[in-house]
Each structure stands twice: as structure tokens, then as C-alpha cells.
């Protein structure tokens, strides 16, 4: 029986050219896949915030004009080598580590890694202790410091729990790329490549096999799913 909901899901999947196909209803996420990003910072403008704005719209992050406590799932970090003067602008979001410290430290298991490598917060059992925020080397998580409104149906978020980039898990499950990737391709220079690192036929897997890529704080051994070129 196909209900209205399934129809909506199916129509969404057909509209966008999908890098991967939507998972069948009723099928769990599988460890056969490992979703990842490859970001070429040489294509990132210093002033460009297309990915950041797309994320805010997609996730319903309205903000309260309080920069110290407002949530940011992705941010542009401007880095400069003091020795050479070389500068880059790097989009930094949850790096979806294979060995995420936030998952290790979470007392209740709310901070979790899905089978396909996406790191999420199960806000149903998050108690708001913020230990994951202490543990994350990338400062990828935010704490909801006040009542939230204007939530998107696909991204529940509320006061007193921790949140962060979900790699747009709701879009991936429909066979669509994350909102930041789509927006960067449409409105900026297409610096972001999304795909399944485990699939040898995927563009991202072929590119990381062919070209030199780096990961932020690779020395920590967390094996992030987000890779960079140009830093």
C-alpha cells in the first residue's frame, strides 16, 4: 500500500538528479555505504557563504541574533599561514568521523553513528550535558540555548539538547545530496562533492583515490568522512 507520504518522498527523489538512489522504505542504513564529502577550498571564496546560508534555510536555523549561543552547523573558517601569508576559506561542519569522540563520551548513547557513517544526536535521549561539545575537536556541535521555533519537519530541534550537522540525512535517504552541496553547485563554484566513499564507481571515491586530499586534524586518528583539497 502506498500512502500519501510515500508519494511525496518518491516525487522528491525524481525531481533531483540523484548521486545515489533513495533507500527503499523499510530498509535500514547499511555499513556497505560510507557517505563523505570532498571540499576543494581553492574554489571557496573568502566572502562566499552560500553553503552556510543554504544550511540555515534547510535546517530552519532562525537564530536569535546572539552569535555566542546561536547554532551553526557549518561555518566558514578563514585560515592564514603566518609564515607564508597563504590564506584559505574553509567550510567546516561535522566531519562525520569513523571514530567519533562525541559518540565515545556520550553517557546515554544519544550521540550516535548510523551504520552508513553519519554522526547524529538522538535528541530523544540527549540530556544536554554538553560532554560531546567538550570532546569534539572540530567544534562542530551547538547547544540549543533557548526555546526554538520555526523547525523544519525533517529537523526537530529544541531547547536543552545538542545539535549539529546531520549531513542532511533526510535528503540522503531520499537520494538527494546535502543542501550545502546542492547550493554550492547551483549558486557558487561547486567546491563540494558528495558521495559514497565505499562505492568504487562513485565520483568521490575515484577522486580521493586519484588525488591528494587531507583531513582536518588527521593526526587525531578519527578518520573523518569529510576530506579537503587545497589546505
Amino acid at each position: 500500500m502506498i500512502n500519501r507520504r510515500h508519494m511525496i518522498l518518491a516525487s522528491g527523489a525524481m525531481l533531483v538528479a540523484a548521486p545515489a538512489t533513495a533507500r527503499q522504505a523499510g530498509q535500514p542504513a547499511s555499513a556497505a555505504q560510507r557517505w563523505g564529502l570532498l571540499i576543494d577550498t581553492s574554489k571557496c571564496g573568502v566572502e562566499c557563504t552560500v553553503c552556510v546560508e543554504a544550511c540555515k534555510a534547510e535546517m530552519g536555523l532562525s537564530g536569535h541574533d546572539r552569535p555566542r549561543t546561536d547554532a551553526q552547523y557549518v561555518r566558514k573558517v578563514n585560515v592564514r599561514d603566518p609564515a607564508t601569508g597563504a590564506a584559505h576559506s574553509v567550510p567546516v561542519m561535522c566531519q562525520h568521523c569513523a571514530k567519533p569522540p562525541c559518540v565515545d563520551v556520550c553517557p546515554t548513547g544519544a550521540s550516535m553513528k548510523r551504520a552508513d557513517g553519519i554522526v547524529l544526536v538522538d535528541r530523544h535521549i540527549c540530556i544536554g550535558c554538553r560532554y560531546c561539545m567538550m570532546a569534539c575537536p572540530y567544534k562542530a556541535r551547538s547547544f540549543a540555548h533557548e526555546d526554538q521555533s520555526g523547525q523544519q519537519p525533517h529537523l526537530p530541534r529544541g531547547k536543552g539538547t545538542v545539535e549539529g550537522c546531520t549531513l542532511c540525512v533526510h535528503r540522503i535517504d531520499e537520494g538527494k545530496p546535502p543542501a550545502c552541496v546542492e547550493a554550492c553547485a547551483a549558486r557558487a563554484r561547486g567546491a563540494m562533492l558528495f558521495g559514497d566513499l565505499n562505492d568504487p564507481k562513485s565520483e568521490i571515491a575515484q577522486k580521493v583515490a586519484r588525488e591528494a586530499t587531507t583531513r582536518i586534524r588527521a593526526d587525531l586518528g578519527l578518520e573523518p568522512g569529510v576530506r579537503y583539497q587545497g589546505i
Binding site: 500512502n3 500519501r4 507520504r5 510515500h6 518522498l9 533507500r23 527503499q24 522504505a25 523499510g26 530498509q27 535500514p28 542504513a29 530552519g60 532562525s62 536569535h64 550516535m112 548510523r114 551504520a115 552508513d116 547524529l120 538522538d122 535528541r123 530523544h124 533557548e146 526555546d147 526554538q148 521555533s149 520555526g150 523547525q151 523544519q152 519537519p153 525533517h154 526537530p156 530541534r157 529544541g158 531547547k159 536543552g160 539538547t161 540525512v169 535517504d173 531520499e174
Partner: protein, 121 residues
């Protein structure tokens, strides 16, 4: 024992006195299960589904809070969706009648997608 029964009856009197809950009509033709099943079992259905969807990534389950909201959120005269947890609306009418506060809408959207709502309270 008898005194206890009288006490319980007295305590329950306000419930008898209150008007039965009323809520706007749903958009769809039929719910996923009969009314008596839904009334009794919707918390378990949603709890089971939330763990399956979030932790395992199983999409398209029969029971879904998002689908509840899509079907049951009323539309106001000016075309805006009315939050399901507003007084007299689908979720709130029954929940205030039975004096149970659902935790869902601390986080979950109370209206279907594609409606623009005011920024902050």
C-alpha cells in the same frame, strides 16, 4: 476501600464536568488504524518508529509524527497552518483533556513543511 472509591470519584469529577475534546477535521480520508487503536497505542507506535528511523535509518514507516502533523494540522482562514499543539487543535485538545503534556513539540515541527512562521517567541 469504599472511602477510596468515593475519593477517586470526587477527584475525577472535574473530568466528567469538562467538555469532551473537539478538534478540526483531518485532511486525509482514513487514519493508519482505527480510532480506538490510535488513541491507545499512538505513543508506542511513535516511540518505536522514532528509534527505527533515527537510529537505524528506516524510512517510510507506517506511523510517523511528520505524517500525523501533515494530515491533522488545520489551516486558518488566512491560509496559514495552525500548530497541532495550539489550544483546541488535534494534539492539544485531547492532551489537555487527559492532562498529559507531550514532549514531542519541544523539538518537532507543529505544522507541515513549506509554511513560513514567525521567527522567535
Amino acid at each position: 476501600m469504599g472511602a477510596l472509591a468515593v475519593l477517586i470519584t470526587l477527584l475525577a469529577l472535574p473530568a466528567f464536568a469538562a467538555d469532551l475534546p473537539q478538534w478540526p477535521k483531518a485532511k486525509g480520508e482514513a487514519c493508519i488504524a482505527a480510532n480506538d487503536v490510535m488513541r491507545r497505542e499512538h505513543p508506542d507506535m511513535l516511540k518505536h518508529q522514532r528509534d527505527d528511523t533515527l537510529r537505524l535509518g528506516i524510512r517510510g514507516a507506517k506511523a510517523s509524527l511528520k505524517a500525523c502533523v501533515e494530515c491533522h494540522a488545520a489551516t486558518s482562514a488566512d491560509g496559514h497552518a495552525v500548530p497541532v499543539d495550539a489550544p483546541g487543535q488535534f494534539c492539544q485538545s485531547c492532551h489537555s483533556y487527559v492532562a498529559v503534556k507531550p514532549d514531542c513539540f519541544e523539538c518537532h515541527a507543529t505544522t507541515p513543511k513549506a509554511t513560513v512562521r514567525e521567527a522567535s517567541r
